[in-house]
Symmetry: C2
Subunit: 386 residues, 2 copies
């Protein structure tokens, strides 16, 4: 017997309420029943995106929505500036290349955040750039980029949009799209939205829609103008077949998020992240990020321990699924997620699992020390005794 704990930065745990909502009998997507759920879902989604715009739903993973964000506003030959500080940053360049765009990379050391001055410099060198692309949270390095500061810079260029991959940021940290002037915000279902993978969300600004009019990059399934029309109020369905059960689940997820309240949602995530960092550091592990993400905490595995075997042991022998490292971090790090359906005892489990696994791998560890450091932070989440 082995009980399983999903503590990876996507997919994340699905709450019982959401599982039950998704288990409801299938309904057809060209019906008033579906349109009612769909319209309510989009209404609530606006609150979470903090925008007056209508978020668009796509039956796709987050990568599909990243591509959609780019191709709907660009034409072949357009310059696209992108921040590459990890595996997801790198992906902007790959998408741009496939569509005949001209990617201009801002290379950032893994584990570091981009300096907004580098964006300013790139835009000065390429004032014709159509888009600036950045991750709000670069999951591969558990690092947050300074989106607000970048937005202020891009806003000064009237024909350049800022595209933000908020896949592990939306619903985790405060990212007010309209207030900050973000032009496209991309989210995925299997992160803070606590759903299985397969559903992506994207919201676009007026500036984006204006520039989208003349965009000539090839797209059919990902035609956001077509989706905008189909999904608009009164039509209330999708251009192509939607992921019905995931949208039912999203409807329930959004109710949960709004019941909790955005302020409390962000505060919970911040507290769990703080507890995870405290626990990991109490165990003597070094954080990989200089600007740690709120969605997941990454730490270097101690010298002498193979990170791949370590993460595999945790998953297969202890039932605890963390993420390991990708690319240049492969075999070197462990990433502990705390976005979505996570609370106090998930951090406790994560720290206890690390303690016991480190001990099993022969690393000197003081049992309970990581848990204790986390508990001291987590106490702030417990109300006073009445």
């Amino acid at each position: 017997m082995l009980k399983h704990y999903l503590l990876s930065p996507g997919p994340t745990a699905v709450p019982e309420r959401v599982q039950l909502a998704m288990a409801a009998p299938m309904i057809h997507h060209r019906t008033p029943q579906f349109s009612r759920i769909f319209a309510e879902t989009r209404e609530m989604l606006r609150e979470v995106f903090q925008t007056e715009q209508d978020p668009i739903l796509l039956a796709a993973s987050g990568t599909g929505a990243m591509e959609a964000a780019l191709v709907n506003v660009c034409s072949p030959g357009d310059v696209v500036i992108y921040v590459n500080g990890g595996k997801f940053g790198e992906r902007w360049g790959k998408i741009a290349q496939k569509h005949g765009l001209v990617p201009v990379e801002i290379a950032v050391e893994w584990g570091e955040a981009v300096d907004p001055a580098a964006i300013e410099k790139a835009l000065a060198e390429h004032p014709e750039a159509r888009a600036v692309c950045v991750q709000a949270s670069e999951t591969s390095t558990t690092t947050e980029h300074p989106v607000r500061e970048i937005a202020e810079i891009v806003a000064r260029h009237e024909n350049t949009v800022l595209i933000v991959d908020a896949i592990t940021a939306l619903g985790v940290v405060d990212l007010p799209m309209d207030a900050w002037g973000l032009d496209a915000v991309v989210a995925g279902s299997q992160k803070a939205f606590m759903l299985p993978p397969g559903l992506a969300m994207i919201a676009c600004s007026e500036k984006y829609w204006r520039l989208a009019e003349g965009a000539r990059c090839g797209r059919f399934y990902f035609d956001l103008l077509a989706e905008r029309k189909a999904q608009a109020k009164g039509s209330d369905t999708t251009a192509w077949t939607p992921a019905v059960s995931l949208i039912r689940g999203l409807h329930e997820v959004l109710r949960m998020m709004l019941e909790e309240g955005l302020d409390k949602l962000f505060a919970r995530h911040a507290l769990l992240a703080e507890a995870a960092r405290a626990g990991v550091q109490a165990l003597g592990l070094r954080l990989i990020s200089k600007r740690p993400a709120t969605s997941a905490t990454g730490a270097f595995v101690p010298d002498g321990i193979a990170g791949g075997a370590f993460v595999k042991y945790l998953r297969d022998k202890m039932g605890v699924t963390f993420a390991g490292g990708q690319d240049r971090f492969k075999g070197k790090i462990v990433r502990i997620a705390h976005l979505g359906y996570y609370d106090v005892f998930d951090i406790v489990i994560a720290m206890a699992a690390l303690e016991m696994a480190l001990a099993r791998f022969g690393h000197p560890v003081q049992f309970g020390s990581g848990v204790a450091a986390a508990e001291r932070v987590l106490m702030r989440r417990l109300p006073e005794v009445a």
Copy 2:
């Protein structure tokens, strides 16, 4: 948002596999489909009861099966000796009284196990006694009684049966019915059987069935001779409507138990109990039992803390459901379950929850100390690194 952890000694957590099995479409109970599931279930149940007898399934809670065990072998006026060392022991006396039997109580201090010599003495004083009734595990005091020694004594009386309430013992500790000569063994679904409440199981020895022939206590729904006939091989159904989905769940539960293997099942429970005791004592709490149960660990709440409020805070503010105390232990104890679908991290959660709740109630506590003591024991459950 509050995540919930069910760490009470019944109902206990239901595994995903079992939830899915119970979610299957309803089938009729007078059909070959049901009879196949039923026959397989009983076949596996024999292995868990460690008996050649056919266990009988009842749509009832454990109390119903306790009553069935008594009334099918007794006639009004019969003497029944029972061990009363807690709320469940006391129940034998209440059942006996309602059926016009003559209960002879062996009173045992709460938290202590019965001395087998007391059984010997009672049987010497009442050689005509029809039954001796005892809990294998008295859940209200988290204490195990010495069933094997009691069985050796009762076996010397050819017209007296030993009725064992194994509701929180079967599937937890080794309780080989045939080898030890137990005459009736009672179990319930919501304990080590990892199911929702509503299903009880009982197996009876040849000696029991012989004495059952002349028993005249009133019973209709709980007529075990009628059930024995209906449930026999070839008939393979129940006299009255069975709890179909619970039996489907039990079928899956038994597959899980036998896949794990009885030896490993007992070893896991013993290890979790040892870890819980170590953790609780490291936190400075005093165990309530002199012969602690493997199914649950009970500890006194520190002086100055109201146990009722403490358990309520854990449940309502932290999402962790422990059991409090009943009757004379009301408001004084906390009981942590570890029977059924429990493993390493359930004990970790239990200890971290106690640490944080004790701190919240102003009790001096060293964060991580209970978790650390538990982890040292739990390490034995983790395999070596390959």
